[in-house]
Structures are given as structure tokens and as C-alpha cells.
Subunit: 519 residues, 2 copies
């Protein structure tokens, strides 16, 4: 309790300290809730657990349902438990967890996803809660402290916490005393409404333009609860041979671009998604020839600590410290060294086109699949089944100096080790269009699409990216589509529209996308 | 000649004055050419005509082919004549004209399209001409004058003229003496390269942050040619009953949003595309209840002059004066009145996410079709045949405060007056995704998609936007897709993937999209 009181520097707020159980009456069925949290760090833990206990003990399953607006994913122990107890109705804009994912796809949970920078902005504009006056009934925020003026010092992620604090009628703050105070690590700007929005005056990754805490009317804080539950973080996906090869293809490309004078020697600020390819790329940078590198991204994973340790990474901006349990230990053990080179910002800022274009970010993300003309599917397997959500991929890919997507050329199906090709004639769902992507990479090679017309792109992608098991099928598709479309003068981007998902159909029926022909 | 010399205030450049015919030797087969011009105003006219004459007279068809990089469309008399003479190889990023369109779709012309703000930027970065050191061999610019320092005073459009002037090895300037000097009407900022890019410090539509002319090394100017050919401009598409109804739906929505406190009384800066719906919307604004309105867009059509005349439009920012012949007459007759309230900017600025988000633009554009989940096709009929290009629609729709797409609910086929539905289960080509669009409108009604999950969006769109001839077909599709996908827990966004283009197939075979059932 001593540490808790020390963290709440506005002493009049000590009177609002209560147990997690005591917050249960604040929650009513059907409420719009805004939470802190991002990939899964910095989300409230003890209050959601107490409410879940309450629902479970009292048999309130299906009678206490909520609309959850969070920055991105939160820990499965909260997400899936709430879903299991039928507590989740709407869920924006991203989720991970087996139970929640099933419910998103069986119609139980109403999920929506939007580019994170737009999502944060529209949240502040009140678009998602417009039937509720644009407000949240309740905001739930994990913080590491409160200033003398009631300003909220957030914890290991920012996400949409500022927008939630701004638009919530009431706030419950969880102060996490199991982690250090993160004061000094944040660069907070609030979402203003037009016509009164102002520029974000960053011209370098390490510029600071905001404040160290989120301003907050202390009268909105109805409860402060101590939490001693550390973030479980995100375990690291180890790189495999294929992702190492993809990373090597990308690093070769960077060297080529530097030589051609289109990239400076220290590159431009890197954005790298999550997953084993992203980790292999950062692993490659650790051993690679580029120094004085900067990172402008939305998640920092453990490999970034290695990157700092290598002396080659100068500075990193993110919205979340998406570290593993071991990663957090490393961070806390060498706090000054790492945190003097890191800043965390709200997603409406970290993912804002204004910053991404001005800084000239190099964006790298993994899709489910891409097609021969350069459209990519990031969210819906088979065009219908949601995995996690679009996240920030569209913010970065649309606005980057170089937009790169990387994927293995194939994935195994149940019966065939290369039963699924990740390069298809037409993706069954488009999250990123041909107008957005510059470079596509698999372990087979790298296709540089800049300046190419669709037919040239198809040739380049099939030549460079497709696995040998699928090359004849894809070449045949393109040749036939070309011939058929040219005959009717409709061949800017040739397709056989009425056969285009034949490979997906074979997968559904036979467990492999290897079709015999396109007849 | 007196007027021409007067327009060239840097007198040492008078020595470069020559006839259009004399510029022919500057052109070599295979060159990368950058031109001024946008929707079709401000493009070079006499030099392209002289070169076409040369090709025609000397039987050089197919032996003098060029890669053309322009802001958007140019006049058909140049575009189609060059295409007819097989002079056009690559063509970026937008075209109008029967001959060029045919060639784009039969494989003769290699066209590519990208969001205009990105296109301009990537042009400056040298991405489209990277095999040529990122340069243009020759830039062709229509201007209305040259300053004492060699600065280029552009004419009725800006487009990518600054980027062309910046990156061209040699420049031919057409000074158009049939139009007034446009000095004072332009707000020019150049495209800087990262890591040295700076903010665009506009916070109001009528802020000015750039210069009145494009800086230019006079040694690059190899020829100056007088032109007396006025812009033919863009004839106005008159509104019809359907577009009037769509406009009425949109104006009702604006009033609703003002009442709800989500829009200020004078709205937010409007972006409106071209075509009869756009003109009906502006027509509605002229008679409507909103005053002190501002416009931040890429094209100003004749209806904007009516809007100014009504006293309700305060200021307009654009990249082009896309007026009709009569519209230009009105402009020139009342030059001071109109031009004191208009500014023209480069497309990398007019279409930049930074400005569009900060100002909170309301974007309105017409697609070919949209689907029940909120994806839109703006470019490829049937997924393969290019019409014009994506233009700036994606720049505005992705970044707007409100993203609106409007279309008639049906269009006639050859045999059926409602043979084509513009609301389909899945668009066969995606230019704008479900993550980008807020509001869809037809003459049937308006669907507000903000905060809805895909299945809710489908219900709203089918209820509000679909024509009665297609409502049962679409309802049946959605219900069956929902049932089938929920059974397999794959129904976040339900589809029957292997039947999804059945309506398009019927159109191809029977001339109507009215199918009997989804079996």
C-alpha cells in the first residue's frame, strides 16, 4: 500500500483507492468500455478478473455483456475468460485468443477492425459510441502512476488510452506496482477535433512533441485499484530457415537500394510487424552492415533489445513494449540504457500517416497471402474467417517510403506440406491494394513492383515469389487469363473471374491447392 | 511575340524561344517524359501536336514510343492522337480517351495507377524511372510565365509539374498566352526526400505555406514555345433525378450530423469528385442551409463557381481548375472575385494525408460498385477492364473525417434498364477496403457504417442502398452465406466464395445480373 500511495502523487485521490471487487457495481450490462492495452501489454488485469469472478459466481453469463474498445490485443487470460463467460459483445479492433476468435467467427462477438490510426481518431470523434453520445460509460486504464495534477502516467503501452481517458464518463485506474514507474518514457499528444487539429511537429524519430502523462479530470476517477500482476508479454517466435532466407532477401535489397542512392547508408526508420519473419529481419540487422539505424513502429519485441545491444540501433519509437517475460527482465535490469533510447506514443501518433510519410518509414509486414497483381489479405482466411485484425499494417504500408510484405511462399495443409500457396491469382479478401505495395518477398525471392503495370507485376511476382510446386499453375493462369481478356479488350489486369477461386475450392475439398488445370 | 516576351521576365531566356516544330529533335524513342496537366487542364498542347505531326508525316508509328508521367488526364486531342500514332508506351497514373483506354486494355499501353499523393511523391523519389537514374529525360510544362529568377509560373493546374521540373534533365516550357498569367494563384511546395522532409503547416484551407512559382534551374530549359491554345476543360455532367436524390440523401445526413454535434454548422472542408453526382451535391449545397463552407479538393468544376456566387462558399483549395469552356469564360470575366478565394497546390500536397486528416475533410466519390461489407471498386469493370484510374479517391477516402461513396443503385445493361446492380456481394476488384469507408449512398438511401461489424454492415447496406429489383437476391445471398459460414465457424464476414461472382457471370452470358437463385 505504501508503494501504491507513493505512485499517486495527487494525495486527494488516495480516498478513491479500493479493492478490485469493490469496483463491480460500476459495471452494468450493455456498457461501452474503453481500455488501455496493446499487443498484450499495459491492459487492466485485476478489475476484469474480479468482474469475471463476479459473473461466474453469480451465474450471470450472457447477462453482463460489454462493448470493448481497446488499442489492440490484451492477454488471453482476460480476453478468453471474458469471452467464455459471454461478457464480450462488440470487440474492436484486434484480438488474439482461441475462445474470442471462435466467437468472432460463429457470430457471438461483433468485431470490427479499422486501421489503428483511424480507429483511435474515430474513437475520439465518438463515431463508435455515437448512440451513447460519443462517450464511454467507463474507462479502464492500467497506469504506473498519477501526477500531482491528476495526470495519468501510463505503463508499458499507450494504444488508445489517451482517447479513452478523454472520452470516458468515469475511469477506473489500475496502478501496477509490480512494474517500475514509466514516467519519462511517454510522448503523449491528444486527439483534437477538426477544425482545430494541429501538426505533429516531429521531423526525427527522437523528437518529442507531447507530454509525459495524459491530462485527466480527477473527478472522473471513481476508483483506483492496485495491481501486482506483471505483463505476461508476447513470447518470441523463433526464426526458422524460411524466415531467415526471407530476411536475407530483404537485407540484400536494402544494400542494393543504398548503392543506387535511393536509401541513405543508415537506411530510413524501420517498421517491422510481429512474428518470426519480423524477428528474423531484426536478427539480420543485428548482424548486418547498417549502423545508426532508427525504428518507428508500433511494437518493440525482444529482438529490439538485441538490436540496441549490438550498438547499431540508435533510437526506437513505438506504442508498446511487446516483450516476453524474459525481455521485461532484461529491460528492467538495464532500465537507463534502454529507456534513454525509447519513446512510447499513442497509436493515433505512432501510426499517423503524417509522421510515417514525413519520416520516410520502411514498412514490413506479413500477410496471410498476396496475389499476382499485388493485393494482400491480412485478416480473413478464405475471405471469411477472421484471424486477429488489420492492426497498423495499412497505416504503415500505405504511407511508407517503401512498403514491403513478406511471407513464406507456401504453408502446410493437413495433408500436404506445401498444400497452401501464399501467392494466389486473386486474394479472396483485400486489406492492402495494388496501389499500396512496393515490394513482395518470399523465401524464393523478392519482387520489386515499383513502376510496373499489372501484367508486368504478375510476371515479376510469379517469377520471383512463387514456390516451384505452384509455378506452372500460376503461369498457366496468367497466360490463359491474358489471352482471354485481350480477345475482348478487357485485359488491363487479366483474370478468369469465374474460375479465380478454383484453387481455394480444391483446398476445401481435397486439402491442397494443387489443381490439375484451369479448365 | 510581345506578350510572350513580357511573360518571360528572365530576359536571358528569350534566346530559348523557338517554334514547336523546332523542338522535335529533343525527342528520342524510349524516353521517359514528365508532363504538367491535370483533369484535363494545364497540359502541354503545341509541342505534343508538333511531335505527333512529325511521327505521322514520316511514318514513324511504333518507332517513337514514350513513357508518359503526368498528373492525371490530359485532353483527348493529345492523349488519343498519341495513342493512335503508337507513341504511348507506359502511361501513369490516369487517362481518359477512347483510343488510350482501348490500348490500356488490349495490352498495347502499360498503364499503372497509384494514389495520386503517393504517385507524386514516388515520382520525385525516382521510383518510376529508377532504370533511368530516377530522372526524366525531358519535362514538358505548360506555364503562364517565368519569373526574373527563372521560376516557373504554372497555369490552370499544378498536378506533378513541380516534381517533373525537379527531376527532369531538360525542360520544354510552353507559355500559354491565350490565358491570363496565373501568378498569385499557386501555393507550391516541393517534394523533399526523407530524412529531410518538413511538415506542411496548413491548419486552415486558406493558409498559404509555399511559393508562387516552381523554382527551376534555367539551364535546364532547352526550349520555350508559345501556345495560344486554351484549355478545352471538362464539360459539365448535368445532374439527373437519381443524382439529385443521392445529393438530397447526403445533405440530410449532414444536417443530422450537425444536429448530433459531430459536424460544425459550416461543416468541414468538402472534397467532391467529378461527375453528375458530385455536381448534384454541389448544386444541393448552393441551395442548402450551410454557409461559410470551405472546399479542399483536387478538381474545381463549374458548379463551384455557382457555389461562390451563392455567397456560401468561402474558400477553395484544389490542384486544378477543371472548368468547362464556359466556366473558364466566367472565371476570366470575374477574375478578382474568384481568384481571391482559390488556391492551387501540387497533388502531393492537395492529396496529402497530413493535410486531409488535419483539416478533417469530408470526402465524396463515385465508385463503379461497392459490396455488402463496404469494399469499393473504382477502377476495373468486371475486375479486369480499366476505365480511368484510381486518381485521388483513395487519398481522400482513407484520410477523411467522413468517407462517403455514392452511386446509383443500378445501371442499365444493353438489354435491361436495371441490368447491373452497383451493390454486389463481393466487388471483383478492391480499390477501397472495408477499413476505409464510413458511409455508402445510393438514391435508395444512406448506410452509415461507422462502428458496425461486417454482418451489421451487410444488413444496413442491403436495407438502405440496394434497388428493389435486387433486394431479394442480396438478402438471400447474405442469409445463405451466414448460415453456411456459421456452421463451420468461419463467419466473421460470411461469403459463398465459390458462387460469389454468379451475378457477374449471368451478366456476361445473359446481359443482366438478375439471377434466379444462389444454387
Amino acid at each position: 500500500m505504501g508503494e501504491l500511495r507513493k505512485r499517486i502523487r495527487k494525495t486527494s485521490l488516495h480516498a478513491r483507492i479500493m479493492s478490485a471487487e469493490d469496483t463491480v457495481p460500476f459495471f452494468k450490462n450493455g456498457m461501452d468500455l474503453g481500455w488501455s492495452g496493446f499487443t498484450p501489454v499495459g491492459y487492466p488485469k485485476v478489475v476484469p478478473a474480479a468482474l469475471a469472478d463476479h459473473v461466474e459466481k453469480n451465474g450471470l453469463q450472457g447477462k453482463m455483456r460489454f462493448n470493448l474498445f481497446i488499442g489492440a490485443s490484451i492477454g488471453g487470460e482476460v480476453e478468453d475468460r471474458w469471452a467464455s463467460l459471454q461478457m464480450t459483445d462488440k470487440r474492436w479492433p484486434y484480438q488474439t485468443g482461441k475462445v474470442i476468435q471462435k466467437q468472432v467467427n460463429d457470430g457471438t462477438v461483433r468485431m470490427g477492425d479499422k486501421h489503428l490510426s483511424l480507429y483511435a481518431q474515430d474513437l475520439a470523434y465518438g463515431f463508435y459510441t455515437k448512440d451513447n453520445g460519443g462517450r464511454f460509460d467507463l474507462g479502464l486504464i492500467e497506469a504506473s502512476g498519477i501526477t500531482e495534477d491528476g495526470g495519468i502516467i501510463l505503463a508499458g503501452s499507450i494504444g488508445v488510452a489517451p482517447e479513452v481517458i478523454q472520452n470516458a464518463d468515469k475511469l477506473i485506474i489500475e496502478i501496477n506496482t509490480a512494474i517500475p514507474s514509466f514516467e519519462g518514457l511517454h510522448d503523449i499528444v491528444m486527439t483534437e477535433r477538426p477544425p482545430f487539429k494541429k501538426p505533429y511537429l516531429v521531423t526525427r524519430v527522437d523528437d518529442r512533441v507531447g507530454s509525459l502523462h495524459v491530462p485527466c479530470d480527477p473527478d472522473k476517477i471513481v476508483a483506483i485499484v492496485e495491481s501486482r500482476m506483471p505483463d505476461n508479454g508476447r513470447p518470441l517466435s523463433p526464426p526458422d530457415e524460411i524466415s531467415e532466407q526471407i530476411a536475407a532477401n530483404i537485407l540484400d535489397f536494402f544494400q542494393f537500394e543504398v548503392k543506387a542512392g535511393r536509401l541513405p547508408k543508415n537506411l530510413l526508420p524501420l517498421q517491422s510487424g510481429v512474428g518470426n519473419i519480423a524477428n528474423a529481419v531484426v536478427g539480420g540487422m543485428v548482424k548486418g552492415p547498417f549502423a545508426n539505424v532508427k525504428v518507428w513502429t508500433e511494437v518493440l519485441q525482444d529482438t529490439m533489445l538485441d538490436f540496441f545491444d549490438s550498438g547499431k540501433l540508435d533510437f526506437a519509437s513505438s506504442t508498446s513494449l511487446s516483450l516476453s517475460v524474459d525481455g521485461f527482465k532484461r529491460l528492467y535490469a538495464d532500465w537507463e540504457k534502454y529507456t534513454s533510447r525509447v519513446v512510447l506514443r499513442p497509436i493515433q501518433f505512432s501510426n499517423h500517416p503524417e509522421a510515417i510519410r514525413r519520416l520516410g518509414v520502411i514498412a514490413m509486414n506479413t500477410p496471410v497471402e498476396f496475389d499476382i497483381y499485388g493485393h494482400a489479405n491480412s485478416t480473413l482466411v478464405g475471405g471469411t474467417r477472421m484471424i486477429n485484425g488489420i492492426g497498423g499494417s495499412g497505416d504503415f504500408l500505405r504511407n511508407a517510403y517503401l512498403s514491403i510484405m513478406h511471407t513464406p511462399s507456401t504453408r502446410p495443409s493437413k495433408s500436404d506440406p506445401t498444400g497452401i500457396t501464399c501467392v494466389v491469382p486473386m486474394v479472396p479478401h483485400v486489406d492492402h491494394t495494388e496501389h499500396d505495395l512496393d515490394v513482395l518477398v518470399t523465401e524464393q525471392g523478392l519482387a520489386d513492383l515499383r513502376g510496373l503495370c499489372p501484367r508486368e507485376r504478375a510476371k515479376e511476382i510469379v517469377d520471383k515469389c512463387v514456390h516451384s510446386d505452384y509455378k506452372p499453375i500460376m503461369q498457366d493462369y496468367f497466360e490463359r487469363a491474358r489471352r482471354e481478356c485481350f480477345e475482348r479488350n478487357v485485359g488491363h489486369e487479366p483474370h478468369m473471374l469465374f474460375k479465380v477461386f478454383k484453387m481455394q475450392q480444391k483446398l476445401a475439398e481435397k486439402g491442397t491447392m494443387k489443381i490439375d488445370n484451369w479448365d
